[in-house]
């Protein structure tokens, strides 16, 4: 056992480190993000700068390390992506603009698009010239994605789209989108779906920002009113959209961002610097007990990632056991936020950045962390995934599997 890179990995890490040192800006604090540095005009200023950085990153060959060389990649094994990401987190780099396009949309296009489509879209996505978003979730289709209702109706060489999508990251600045819609409501739920890509500038698309608990707006609602998509922009066969969507989602866990909030290090620091009624918080037995639990979880996830890296480094495929990271970290973030505020007692509610410790990072996290337990697979869905794909337990009994979609019962929420 050791924690060392192979020689090739070490050389690559050095190359990445040097390039980042030259082209990326250092962070001014652990929680600084691209958006917090460049907040002007709701992120548009940040977007322009992000595109410029992305173009340099693509030119240097770091933008899609595992892609084939003909599309601007280096055809490297996934371990190199992990190494690059490790180096990149030490710098202030754009997050949330290109991951979906490069990590989810392009792999889907590579699998189902024509040669000319790949040539047209992949280089522009790689350099950040065009930003993509993913239109999957709907108000009535979250964890149960295949329950989506946005309609796609054939009209000559076009499809006409009507309906509503939700939780779309970056829809307000995206140029292109991938979309899954219901082409046949008489077919069974998973069999009546068809997959497309389309311009976000198409007439009939309206994007509205969603304001979250924290006051920030990372997501959008997207409304479709008679939006026309040429049939040439269909990916996969008519009615085979579910299979295409699975291809997209299989890539999702590789792209999930690392939004960093207060973690063990921060709560440990707070416990050492905060006084309770009977002395320093760190000296209180109940506090120590919880700190130890949090440390063991934090280390457990970190070290599990090392095991994943080992598998990648050996050219093995890490299994869905990767999903334990988010299942542990998301509730832990919420627990740390709440626990930290408890230590501050009556004053814990104060969110004034000039008063609250760490410029109110714990209070911010109290309000952002619930989203972490829901986005990209709820805690409950992740437990199902572990149960079914890792432990091989049976799927839930489905009452909706073979019925025509338009005969399924619906609720009022």
């Amino acid at each position: 056992m050791d924690f060392n890179d192979t020689q090739e990995e070490a050389e690559f890490r050095q190359e990445a480190r040097q390039w980042l040192g030259k082209h990326a800006e250092p962070k001014s604090g652990a929680f600084e993000t691209w958006q917090s540095r460049y907040p002007a005009r709701e992120g548009w200023d940040g977007l322009e700068r992000a595109k410029a950085f992305q173009a340099r990153k693509a030119d240097a060959g770091f933008a899609a390390l595992h892609w084939p060389a003909e599309w601007g990649g280096r055809a490297l094994p996934p371990i190199y992506q992990v190494i690059y990401a490790q180096e990149e987190t030490k710098f202030l780099v754009p997050r949330g603009y290109f991951e979906i396009g490069l990590g989810m949309c392009m792999p889907t296009l590579f699998a189902y698009g024509t040669e000319s489509q790949k040539r047209r879209y992949a280089p522009a996505a790689l350099r950040g010239d065009e930003v993509w978003c993913q239109l999957f979730s709907e108000p009535g289709a979250g964890s149960d994605l295949a329950g989506l209702r946005t309609r796609a109706q054939r009209d000559g060489d076009d499809w006409v789209i009507n309906g509503q999508k939700i939780w779309t990251s970056g829809a307000h600045w995206a140029d292109w989108a991938i979309l899954v819609a219901r082409s046949d409501p008489k077919a069974a739920k998973h069999k009546g779906l068809t997959f497309f890509f389309h311009s976000m500038k198409s007439p009939g698309i309206e994007t509205r920002r969603i304001k979250q608990i924290s006051g920030a707006s990372h997501f959008n609602e997207v409304y479709f009113t008679d939006v026309r998509i040429p049939d040439s922009q269909r990916l996969g066969a008519v009615g085979a959209g579910w299979g295409v969507a699975i291809t997209t989602l299989m890539n999702e866990r590789l792209t999930s961002g690392d939004l960093r909030g207060p973690d063990f290090e921060e709560i440990f620091g707070l416990a050492r610097s905060t006084m309770l009624e009977d002395g320093p918080a760190i000296a209180n037995a109940a506090v120590r007990d919880r700190l130890a639990d949090l440390y063991v979880k934090t280390q457990g996830v970190r070290l599990t990632r090392f095991r994943t890296m080992t598998a990648l480094s050996r050219g093995e495929t890490p299994g869905p056991e990767n999903s334990i990271g988010k299942l542990v970290n998301a509730p832990k973030a919420q627990e740390i936020a709440s626990f930290a505020m408890d230590l501050l007692d009556m004053g814990g509610i104060v969110m004034d950045k000039d008063v609250a410790p760490l410029r109110a990072a714990f209070q911010e996290s109290l309000l952002t962390s619930p989203g972490g337990r829901i986005a990209a697979g709820t805690d409950e869905i992740l437990r199902n995934i572990i149960a079914e794909r890792v432990l091989g337990l049976p799927q839930d009994v489905r009452v909706d599997r073979d019925l025509p979609f338009d005969q399924l019962p619906t609720g009022t929420r």
């Binding site: 056992m1 440990f268 440390y295 095991r307």
Partner: protein, 371 residues
Amino acid sequence: MNFDFSADQKSLREQARKFLGEQASSARVRRILEGAAPYDAELWRGMGEMGWLGTAIPEPYGGAGFGHLELCVLAEEMGRSLAPTPFSSTIYLAGEALLLAGSDAQKKRWLPRITQGAAIGCFAMAEGPQVATPGNLTARVEGGHLTGTKMPVLDGDVADFAVVLAADGGAGRAGLFLVDLNAPGVTRTTVATVDPTRSHARIVFERAAAEPLGATGQGWPLAERLLDRAAVLVAFEQLGGAQASLEMAREYALGRFAFGRQIASFQAIKHKLADMYVAVELARSNGYYGAWALSTDAPELPVAAAAARVAACEAYYQAAKENIQIHGGMGFTWEFDCHLHYRRAKLTGLMLGSARRWKDLLVARLEAGAA
């Protein structure tokens, strides 16, 4: 990054699993549970023949000189099979204490006998139902003679020698001592515990000959270092037991039907099993880090060992407890094996000190590291 066991270590695991599958079957474990003997002597002999007893003992003392990673691999398999032998007390505690603090003569005297299976060792620290502290330790050495009572001592009724923590060298100070348990002044009786698959004793010492192991007055720091090393090894036994409990629960849930379907298809059961899996994997990762620190004598060992122990204690207890729950009524019958892991989980969770205490230690060590 190479945070995994090697191919050779994995083939050792396969070999151990096969051997223990035959030699430490449920029927064999139950013989000990039901009092046929304090431990499985035939299995113990077999382990000696396989060379397991000398795994991490250097060659000059008759060992195989592999290392602690190999010992971790074996520990996990022994935990999985609940192997009823004095391995942990002899190897992780008495053997490690000799390696840690023994003089060359002491090592030469005892280690070859351990590797040959000719001597069983044990570690005597606890003195009844309370945590042992410098303030309450009553066993005492005066003029080379030990007087006092130790209880419970794992394998104390079958051991040939003991490493004893006893007061010595002034107020609040202690030493480690080697005591020949077959010598005069030693009275041993077996005590009932929650896990009869591992034998425990009350040992009364009345002016028994005691030979210092390590420097005078260094008993507590030495014991702490010893417990760190044992904590990693026991964590692997716990991991093996936790994994076995998880697998047992999974098998049962797949085979048991209720309300017209497999109970493994109910989310209440699936989520419970997923939580058990997560706990075991977090404990495994913490355990691997402990194994790395132990095998390389890294300065990270005190923190890594405490984290490994806390994670393993909690994962094993959770897995063993929920395994009974998933088995329903059958889970609390004598006939099903669920209780064997439930018992062992609690035993291993306390034998080196409770997780509660190790959490406190862990935070103390993190504070020391951050200071």
